[in-house]
Structures are given as structure tokens and as C-alpha cells.
């Protein structure tokens, strides 16, 4: 399943709408890395509200996406991790080190706006 990537001002928003296969995740990663520079975005939001499970591969890929996008010159924030998912993740030791997280899309946008303000 393809994940739609929407451009919203200076930011890109990728909303994951259903459980993704590993291949879908890798596809999302490539797509985001290409688009972030093509659309001259300063921030990326990955919305995982619809996910009720984050396994180790998904966590690692998300973490990689964040670090790779940073190398492409933009900030990423992961939004909408469900309480149960968060709890399961920490129990598995998947804590998304050095990854910005926010409660929902609104918070994520607020975070990125603030981030870009401090830079400029």
C-alpha cells in the first residue's frame, strides 16, 4: 500500500493509513528522501495514528528515515503513536532515540514551526 505524501507549506506530511509491509516502509523512505529536497521542505511529519503495532523493523526504519532526512537538511517528527503502541515499544526496548515525537498532527506542526523559527 502506497503512503500518500502531502505538501503543506514548508512541510511534508506522510500519513500511514494501514499496516505496512516492510517493502512499503522502504518505499516510503525512498519517496520521502526524494521529495524532501525536490519540494524544498524544511520539515517532515510522519503520522502513525492508524498503526496499532510497531515492530522492530518499523521502529528501525522510522529512526533511519529521521536520521536520513536530517542529512537531507530537514527535521522530522513522528506523531500519533498510540498509548498501547508506545507501551509495547518501550517493553521491547524500541525507544526511537534522537527522534522527535508529538501527540498528533497539530502538535507536530507546532513543533516544526517552532524549530524553523529558531533556525531562521
Amino acid at each position: 500500500m502506497e503512503v500518500p505524501i502531502l505538501k503543506q507549506g514548508d512541510f511534508l506530511i506522510a500519513t500511514i493509513q494501514a499496516a505496512l509491509t516492510d517493502a512499503d516502509l522502504l518505499h516510503l523512505r525512498t519517496a520521502l528522501l526524494q521529495q524532501v529536497v525536490r519540494s524544498r521542505s524544511r520539515g517532515v511529519i510522519v503520522d502513525v495514528t492508524a498503526l496499532d503495532l510497531m515492530d522492530s523493523f518499523a521502529s528501525r526504519t522510522v529512526q533511519e528515515i529521521v536520521h536520513m532526512i536530517r542529512l537531507r537538511g530537514a527535521e522530522t517528527v513522528i506523531v500519533g503513536i498510540q498509548p498501547e503502541v508506545a507501551f509495547a515499544m518501550v517493553q521491547l526496548g524500541l525507544t526511537l532515540e534522537n527522534v522527535a515525537t508529538a501527540l498528533d498532527l497539530e502538535e507536530g506542526l507546532a513543533y516544526l514551526n517552532q524549530k524553523s523559527k529558531t533556525i531562521s
Binding site: P83, E84, L103, E107
Partner: protein, 295 residues
């Protein structure tokens, strides 16, 4: 159970079936209802059971227990009695009636009735034996039903209270827009830690919290397991986009944590709850200033 059935079978082979004997027994108990019931109530008072209840109450309860008892003997079904026992327990447990009292009164009734049977069939030993064969298993079963009903009800009350204490023990409080406080008091076991984390995470979502202050002033001791739970709580909250500040680590806990080598490096700690709230306000961009009275 198998034994009881065998006994029944033996009786049936000997003479009248058990049901006939039980019917005779029930007729006898109905006939002597007033007298036996009074005798029973007297014995209860004498044995100083049910001291939490008045004489009249005991008598009223004794009457309905007696009638239910006889009915159970007559119909050989225990559902009604079971329901009655549960209902009775519900009423008398809050008044402090103990298990031994309930078991005691049922055994007393058994005793009173058996004595009356002895008196009635004194002259006919075989008949007495057969009647007792029919009566004893049923009476045992009744005593069992009532006692189990009482204990089950008690356990239900205890479970309910435990649940209530647990709920009470982990309040997630909102003190400002987007600022939650979680005061932890008492012992943290893994189950409580888990529940605490779940409640906090849902609280974060429901209140859209950005900062959470976890105050552990009321936690006397902490071991590696509990410390790890705390770290997990902090990490999980961060995944939901909230910053956690831990306050009120006592000197003892600070020493233990360093000694057992738990890595709290990623945790934001402040000395006391006041400091924690102040830092949270800074993070949220609040500034608290005293009102200068206009002179």
C-alpha cells in the same frame, strides 16, 4: 459427589427411595418450624455468634434461613439457597460478620435438626439410620453452599476494594493546560507500575499534555525492576510527545539507583515537586508572577 450418589443408591436398594425419606423429613421440619427455629435462635445467642446483630434481627434471619434450608431439602436444588446465601452475605458482610460465625450458625442448625430427628425416631433405629443417611449428605451440601457463598461474596468485596484502592492510588492530575502531575505514593510492584504507565499514557492523550511531572516523594524504596519501569514510563511518554520531569527522589533512592547502576541519564530530575512544576511551566512558556497590590 460420587460417594453421595453411592450412598443414595444404597438407601434406595434398602427400602424407600431417598426422596420419600426427605419428604417425610421436610414434613417433620415444617411441622415443628416454630419450635426448632426458636431453639436454633437460642443456640445462636448462646454460642455468642452474630454479635453484630440484634436478637430480633437474628430471629428474622433465622426464620428465612430455616425456610430456605427446608426448601433446599425438599426440592434438592440449591440455586435458590445459593442466591439467598449471596444476598444474606451481601447484607451482613458490611456489618462485620465473620466467616466462622456464618459456618457456625449453619452447623448449629444442622445440629438442632439432627437432634430433633434423634428425638423423633428414638424408638426405631433402622428408620433413624435411613433418615440420617438421607439427611446428612443434603445437610452437608447445604452447609457447604452457604459457606462457599459467603466466602465468595467476601472475596468479591475484597477484589472490589483492591480495585478501588488501585484506582485511587494512581491519580493523573492536570494542574495547568497541558501539564499533568502524577504523584506516586507507596510501594510500586510490576502490576501497579504497568497500570500507572497505562493511565499516564491515556491521560497524556486525553489532556493533550506536553509536560508530565512524576512525583515520587511518597515512594520509600526503589529497586532495579521498579527503576526500569520508571524509565519505561518516561520513554513511552516521550513517544507520545510529552516531556517527563521526575521529582522527589529521596537521598536513599538516589544512592540505591547509582549503586545498582540504573541509567537515569536520560531522565529529567528535579529536587522537589515545586521545582518540577516551575521547570514544567518554563517548558510550557508560563511565567508566574505575584500580583502587586495597587497602593
Amino acid at each position: 459427589m460420587a460417594e453421595v450418589q453411592e450412598e443414595y443408591a444404597a438407601v434406595v436398594l434398602q427400602a424407600e427411595p431417598t426422596s420419600v425419606l426427605l419428604r417425610e423429613l421436610v414434613a417433620h421440619l415444617r411441622q415443628n418450624r416454630t419450635q426448632l427455629r426458636e431453639e436454633w435462635a437460642r443456640r445462636i445467642t448462646e454460642a455468642q455468634l452474630l454479635t453484630a446483630m440484634s436478637k430480633d434481627e437474628i430471629f428474622a434471619e433465622a426464620t428465612s434461613v430455616y425456610d430456605n434450608y427446608v426448601e433446599a431439602l425438599e426440592t434438592e436444588t440449591f440455586e435458590a439457597l445459593q442466591a439467598y446465601a449471596r444476598n444474606l452475605s451481601e447484607r451482613i458482610i458490611p456489618r462485620g460478620v465473620e466467616t466462622h460465625e456464618v459456618v457456625g450458625i449453619v452447623l448449629l442448625l444442622r445440629d438442632v435438626l439432627a437432634r430433633s430427628l434423634f428425638a423423633k425416631y428414638r424408638s426405631d433405629h433402622t428408620k433413624l439410620n435411613r433418615i440420617l443417611d438421607a439427611y446428612e449428605p443434603a445437610a452437608n451440601r447445604i452447609a457447604n453452599t452457604v459457606a462457599v457463598g459467603f466466602v465468595q461474596e467476601r472475596e468479591r468485596v475484597i477484589r472490589q476494594q483492591q480495585e478501588a484502592i488501585r484506582e485511587l492510588s494512581t491519580p493523573v492530575l492536570q494542574v495547568r493546560e497541558r501539564l499533568l502531575i502524577l504523584p506516586i505514593i507507596g510501594v510500586i510492584d510490576p502490576q501497579r507500575a504497568r497500570q500507572l504507565t497505562e493511565q499516564l499514557l491515556h491521560g497524556i492523550r486525553a489532556n493533550r499534555a506536553k509536560v508530565v511531572v512524576i512525583d515520587i516523594t511518597g515512594v520509600a524504596a526503589m529497586d532495579a525492576t521498579v527503576a526500569n519501569h520508571l524509565v519505561q514510563t518516561v520513554e513511552a511518554s516521550r513517544l507520545l510527545g510529552a516531556t517527563v520531569i521526575v521529582t522527589g527522589l529521596s537521598p536513599e533512592i538516589a544512592q540505591t539507583l547509582v549503586n545498582i547502576g540504573v541509567d537515569l541519564g536520560k531522565m529529567n530530575t528535579v529536587g522537589d515537586l515545586q521545582g518540577g512544576i516551575e521547570q514544567a511551566e518554563r517548558l510550557l512558556g508560563y511565567k508566574v508572577v505575584p500580583i502587586v497590590e495597587a497602593s
